[in-house]
């Protein structure tokens, strides 16, 4: 390899190594941010951002699922339950269960509130066929959670099903 080519390739290697660790560097100072701007543009364009924080720094301590409750003009209600990976067979887990696990975890967080209106409309469409003659008024998104007891206070056996879930209505979408 020629010297010039080697310098170019080495530059590419260094740039990529820098890009790989970029997300892991807590560099929020303006000067460093501007130094990193070319790397950030590169990361965005090729979508190479990466964080490896699954179960870190601490694993979640709650089992969570979502529902959407639709109120109709005639006073009746219907509920759409987002599929729970825990209630699916192996094949369904493989094909879509994991996706529903992730999206339920994403939607429940306030930081992702930009997805809530679309999620409500999605639930409404899912219930449309079984309620085709009704006029929907509003959709409530509800998160349900059951905390895993602290290991030091109560060691629950593996695969024990949670009996009670707390609920919180975190978003209301006005249809009309």
């Amino acid at each position: 390899m020629s010297r010039a080519k080697k310098i170019l390739v080495s530059g590419f290697i260094l740039f990529n190594l820098l890009a790989m660790v970029r997300v892991h560097l807590p560099l929020e100072q303006p000067l460093l941010k501007s130094l990193y701007r070319p790397v950030d543009s590169y990361l965005n364009f090729f979508s190479l951002y990466q964080t490896w924080t699954m179960f870190a720094p601490n694993p979640s301590r709650a089992n969570v699922f979502l529902t959407a409750e639709v109120e109709f003009m005639d006073g009746t209600k219907d509920t759409y339950k987002f599929p729970k990976a825990s209630e699916l067979n192996m094949e369904d887990k493989f094909s879509f269960g994991e996706r529903y696990r992730v999206i339920s975890d994403v939607i429940r967080k306030d930081i992702n509130s930009f997805l809530w209106a679309d999620t409500a409309k999605f639930a409404l469409r899912k219930l449309r066929d079984s309620n085709y003659h009704k006029i929907p008024l509003r959709v409530h998104l509800v998160r349900h959670w059951s905390e895993i007891p602290d290991v030091n206070s109560k060691f629950i056996p593996h695969l024990t099903k949670s009996k009670s879930y707390d609920s919180y209505e975190f978003f209301t979408y006005e249809v009309l």
Partner: protein, 308 residues
């Protein structure tokens, strides 16, 4: 003290030496298989996640607003029809298959990457760590000479009496290995920031998350001392995979521990394709003779399955 000359020589040896292509090309087959299976797994609910019609959870226009940075997204240039969305998935599945068998390998890898990134940018909210890992690995694969062995391309070239050179630059293998190590090192550092991994209780909580559970492993997860052992072992093995795997004498024991860790996680938990892509990446750390040894053992197993 390290002289600049020694550093440059070391850099050259690390990134610019040559190696046999067996590991890289074997990795391409396994990685291609998981790209392909990933595509198949998206078929069932494709219209919900990546579709363009009324079934989509995140409408196309909203996704452009949410994820508005300048990034690869072929959906921006396609006509907004359901057919276009399906065309993206079908082409992705086809190119991932071509990557696996090594047909038009380079261009297939590039197209596969563009389509994967486009789908991921179409709906970023459903991605898991397996998606991130496949995306980053596939990016590096675009630069790698993965076609020179065990591929249709190599077969066709050989038939024309113009076989590929199978002694290749180690550069892209090094980048893939570094990416692999980074995953482990980063996750170890993030975990050390918390208290559940340090006090040994993390596996207790992860094993009680019902949406991840797969198969009952009561003995492992039902005794506090075993939970502690599992937590600290996992943390240490992850650290070793990111660091000690580079030490020649420790490489094989570290890889075997990592393999056992991933298999145990895969048996007990459901986390998409992450575990399998990590396992297939282990090949990149194997010497050709070790891969041939594995291949021979695998061949020995096949007739036994047939007889059974």
């Amino acid at each position: 003290m390290l002289s600049l000359k020694t550093f440059v020589e070391g850099w050259d040896r690390f990134f610019y030496s040559t190696t046999d292509a067996t590991a890289l090309c074997s990795f391409r087959i396994m990685f291609g298989l998981f790209l392909f299976l990933n595509g198949i797994s998206l078929v069932e609910d494709f219209e919900v996640w990546f579709g363009i019609g009324s079934n989509a959870l995140v409408p196309l226009q909203d996704s452009f607003t949410f994820y508005k940075n300048f990034r690869i997204n072929i959906y921006k240039w396609l006509s907004p029809t359901e057919f276009s969305a399906w065309l993206v998935l079908v082409t992705y599945i086809a190119t991932s298959f071509f990557v696996m068998i090594g047909f038009k390998t380079r261009i297939s890898t590039i197209i596969c990457f563009i389509l994967m990134v486009s789908m991921q940018n179409r709906n970023y909210s459903i991605l898991n760590s397996g998606d991130t890992l496949m995306r980053c690995m596939l990016f590096l694969m675009m630069f790698a000479p993965t076609q020179v062995k065990y591929s249709v391309d190599a077969y066709l070239k050989k038939n024309k009496d113009e076989p590929f050179e199978t002694e290749i630059s180690i550069l892209t293998i090094r980048l893939l290995q570094l990416q692999f190590s980074l995953v482990y090192l980063a996750t170890t550092l993030f975990k050390l920031k918390g208290y559940d991994w340090v006090d040994g209780s993390a596996v207790y909580y992860t094993s009680r998350l019902v949406n991840f559970q797969r198969i009952v492993l009561p003995i492992v997860f039902d005794y506090p001392f075993l939970v502690k052992f599992a937590t600290w072992s996992a943390l240490f093995i992850e650290f070793a995979m990111g660091s000690l795997v580079w030490v020649k004498e420790l490489r094989l024991p570290v890889l075997i521990s990592g393999l056992l860790l991933h298999l145990l996680i895969e048996i007990s938990m459901s986390i998409g394709f992450f575990e399998w892509v990590m396992i297939s990446s282990y090949i990149l750390f194997l010497a050709p003779k070790e891969i041939f040894w594995l291949k021979a053992r695998f061949k020995l197993l096949l007739p036994q399955f047939g007889r059974a």
